[in-house]
Structure formats: C-alpha cells, structure tokens
C-alpha cells in the first residue's frame, strides 16, 4: 500500500499539486484519472522520486520515502517498476538487453543463465518472445509499451507505475495492454498505479479510481461507483467521452444501455 499525504508542488510560483492525499491499494489497479495538465504526471514523478514535492510525505508499505536517507530510498526504488509515457526504452540496446538491463544492474548475484531465463520469461509474458533481437527503433508503439512492461516487471517489482500506458494506441491494442497490466497486477499481487485519461481503461480495469482536477483530488472510488458519482467536474469528464455519451443515450432510450455497459466491463471488456 502506498500512502500519499498532503503533497504540494509548485513550478515558478504556479501551484500544480494543491495538497493531494490518497491511498493506492495493494494487489489492485489504482487509476489516477484526470484531464490534461491536471498534474497526474507530476504526482507520479513525485511518488517515484523523480521530483521532490514541496510539502507532504509518501509512504511505501509503512516506510517513509520522502526525505529519508539515500539507502532507504534506494531500497524502495529497487522495488519500483515504471512504464513511461513514451516507453523510454534504451535505444542503444536490443529489446532483450533492455529487459535484462535492470537485472544486470540490480541483481549482480544472478547468473547469466538465470538472467537469460528471466528475460525469456518476461518477454513471453508480454507476448514478445520473438522480438528479443530487435532494436527499439524497429518495433511498433504498442510493442514498445509491452517491452516497457517487461522491463518494469523483470526484477520482480512490488510497485508498478504506468504513465498513460495506452496513449497513442488503437482501442484494441490499448485494451490488450490494460488487460496485461491487470493480469500482472493480480498474478503477483503488485501495487499498480496507472495514470490515464481514458474512460475505456476506467471501465476495463479501474478497481480503485482517484480523480484529480486542477491539482486537487475531487473523488475516489471504484468503477461501479464512478458512473453515479455526484461530483460535477467528474461528471463532465466522464460524459465528455462519446462512448459513454452514446451508452447514456441508449440508456435513456432503452433503459439498460448503461447497465449493459457496466456489465460488459465486468465480464472482461465486451466493448
């Protein structure tokens, strides 16, 4: 469980995060939802320690992360896997070397053979067993995201952070990526935090959703509660999605579109 309490962050006088407190639950997909520029990426970077918040504290399973000694921070960092918005693969290395890299750096006690097996396993897990020898420039955006996931889970992380895992992907691929993250989270009991502004992901995998608006947390709950939320900003956000609007229209016309929509999502994503 990751606890974030009262995080504030400003850039050159403009406050981007205005005191955010929330909890990310273990073994679940926690979604950070919000419009563009609301500070989702900044919050994520504060949590993983790429940025220092001006105020507030972050606790990983009881260990305070902010302002603690470098050794403790290092210890926690080694348990963090992260998928970046642009994948951030090392472009001088092949796909397999990318996945192997954290193992090489963080677990020198592993033998070459063990490492090779782990790389194979992780690539297979994301469905890329044949792409190991390719360079990042030679694979598609969706494949890059999957390599990013494989690299993040290679050292058996306890916390997985994904910044917009499905931005720039077609709906089918993005559902596949969502499902992959969801499966991995449950398989290994990882605490997963996903930044998104995609309502599809919310309906698909949102087990715990935190809605941010202009640097503040306005709402949190599950995907079943979100459609009935009474926060005007959240309503605006949800119903700006034409898919949801369409479902709502059917709902009004036929009494059951919205319900079918929610059911569909529960049975594994029939959108």
């Amino acid at each position: 469980m990751i606890e974030v309490s009262n995080i504030e962050k400003s850039f050159n006088g403009t406050q981007v995060l205005k005191g955010i407190s929330c909890v990310f639950e273990t073994g679940k997909c926690n979604l950070l939802l919000g419009g563009s520029g609301t500070g989702k990426s900044v919050l994520l970077q504060c949590i993983v320690g790429l940025m220092k918040p001006d105020m507030g504290s972050i606790t990983f399973d009881g260990t305070v992360y902010t302002n603690s000694k470098i050794d403790i921070r290092q210890e926690i960092r080694r348990k963090i896997g992260m998928l970046f918005q642009g994948s951030a693969l090392f472009d001088s290395m092949t796909v397999a070397q990318n996945v192997e890299f954290p193992l090489q750096m963080l677990t020198p006690e592993m033998s070459v053979e063990e490492r090779r097996e782990r790389v194979e396993f992780c690539l297979k897990r994301v469905g890329l067993e044949n792409a190991g020898k390719k360079m990042p420039a030679e694979i598609s955006g969706g494949m890059k995201k999957r390599v990013g996931i494989a690299r993040a889970i290679a050292p058996q992380c306890t916390y997985l952070f994904c910044d917009e895992p499905n931005s720039g992907l077609d709906p089918l691929t993005s559902i596949k990526i969502d499902e992959l993250i969801h499966e991995i989270t449950h398989e290994y009991g990882i605490t997963t935090v996903i930044v998104t502004h995609d309502m599809n992901s919310v309906i698909e995998i949102g087990e715990h959703i935190i809605f941010l608006h202009q640097g503040k947390k306005l709402w949190d709950g599950t995907k079943d509660e979100i459609l009935n939320a009474e926060v005007p900003e959240l309503k605006d956000f949800i119903f700006s999605s034409s898919l949801v609007r369409a479902a709502k229209r059917i709902d009004e016309e036929t009494e059951g579109g919205m319900a079918a929509f929610a059911e569909g999502s529960e049975s594994g994503g029939g959108i």
Partner: protein, 243 residues
C-alpha cells in the same frame, strides 16, 4: 554564470558519489573510449597531417633570409605542432565531434525519459552515463594528441620534401635540434585538461536538456561552442602558468 558553475560542480560531485560497480564502470568506459577514440582517428589524422604540411610550407615561405639555415623550418614545425597545434587543434576538432555526440546523446536520453528510467531503477544516472564518458575522454584525448603530433611532423616532412622547399636532411636535422622533452609533457597535460573540459561541459549541457528535439540540437551546438571557448581560455591559462 556563477550559479551555472555551481551546478556544474554539483553535477560532477554527484557523478563520483555512489558510483556503480567497478566492473560496470570499466565496461562502459571501454565502450565509450572506442566511440570517442577509434571513431576519431581518421578525422584527427587528416587534420593534423594537413596542419603540419601547411605550417611547413608557410614557414618556408616566410623564411627567405639566407643567413638562417633551412633546418630551422623543421625545428619550428616541431615546436609549433607539439606545443600548440597538435593539442589545441585536435581538441577543438574533438570538441566538434565528441562534444556534440555526448551532448546530443545525453540530451536525447533526457527528453525520451531514458535518464528518468535509470533513476527509477535506483541507478545513479550521472555515474552510469557521464563518468565513463569523461574517463574515456581523459584516456583517449592524450593518445589522439600523440598521434596528431607524429602525423603533423610527418605532414611537414612530406610537404617540405615533395614541394621541394627543403631537403629531407635539413628537415630531420631541424626536428632533432634542441629537443625539450618537457614540451611533450606539457602538451599531454593540455590534452588531459581539454578532455575534461570538452567531455564535462558537453555532458552537462546534454544531461540538463529540457524540452524536445529542437533543444537537443541547441544543447549540441551550445556544447561545441562552450567547449571551444573553454579550450582557448584554458590554453592561455596553462601557457601562462606552466611555461
């Protein structure tokens, strides 16, 4: 200006605290040394051979006094190239080649979040990315400068004899007159200092790139111009201090 210098010092300090394992550092340094050194041999050779040749021909053109022996030309070519032209021109050429590639490479890694990815893994990105580049430069610049010295003296020899401005004997006699071994040491000290300036400044420029592809280009250009200015200032300072 002063704050930039302060952050440069902090940047260098961050690089040597909590370094990665020695084996990793060693492998990375060798990789970078190959990139910096081997790939620069051709350009350094061409430039230094021509510098030696031009120096020889121009000195010969200016030395018309019959009282001064022809061998003086060889002597002057040696002095000029070893003391000044080989280390300085080679470093300026390398500032263009190595400096821009360090800044461009690190800048690209920064804007594509590869540096953040390293940091999240708990890896000290400056010690992993920057330290090997600086060490490699410290290793390779002196070697390339030695190569440049040899080739510029050879270039002078070829130019002198082929154009017929002097005999081979005169040239060889000239380059063996009053040889001061300390000059070579001095040139190598210069090479090491320039190596540090070029790699350090370029890495600093690249590492702190913000923005997009345009800024990576700007960082590369900034790295080259700043390195060259730093080389020239250091060249003057070293000459004033050590000669």
């Amino acid at each position: 200006m002063l704050t930039t210098f302060g952050s440069f010092v902090l940047f260098l300090r961050g690089m040597v605290t909590r370094t990665e394992r020695l084996s990793v550092l060693w492998n990375r340094t060798i990789d970078e040394a190959i990139l910096i050194g081997v790939d620069s041999i051709v350009i350094v050779s061409i430039v230094s051979a021509f510098i030696g040749a031009v120096t020889c021909v121009q000195i010969a053109y200016n030395l018309t006094n019959p009282l001064i022996p022809q061998s003086t030309i060889g002597y002057m070519v040696r002095e000029m190239t070893i003391l000044e032209l080989a280390p300085t021109i080679t470093s300026i050429v390398l500032a263009g080649k190595v400096g821009s590639s360090i800044a461009g490479g690190l800048g690209t890694m920064r804007i594509t979040e590869q540096i953040s990815a390293l940091e999240v893994m708990g890896i000290n990105s400056t010690s992993y990315l920057v330290l090997p580049r600086i060490l490699a430069a410290l290793l390779m610049f002196p070697m390339l400068v030695i190569l440049a010295m040899l080739l510029s003296i050879l270039g002078g020899y070829l130019a002198g004899t082929l154009t017929g401005v002097m005999t081979a004997q005169d040239y060889i006699e000239g380059i063996r007159t009053d040889f001061i071994p300390y000059n070579i040491v001095f040139a190598l000290i210069k090479a090491v200092v320039f190596a540090f300036l070029v790699s350090g400044i370029s890495a600093f420029k690249g590492y702190f790139t913000t923005g997009g592809a345009l800024e990576v280009g700007a960082a590369s250009t900034g790295a080259v111009t700043n390195s060259i200015i730093a080389i020239l200032i250091a060249d003057f300072a070293l000459a004033a201090l050590l000669l």
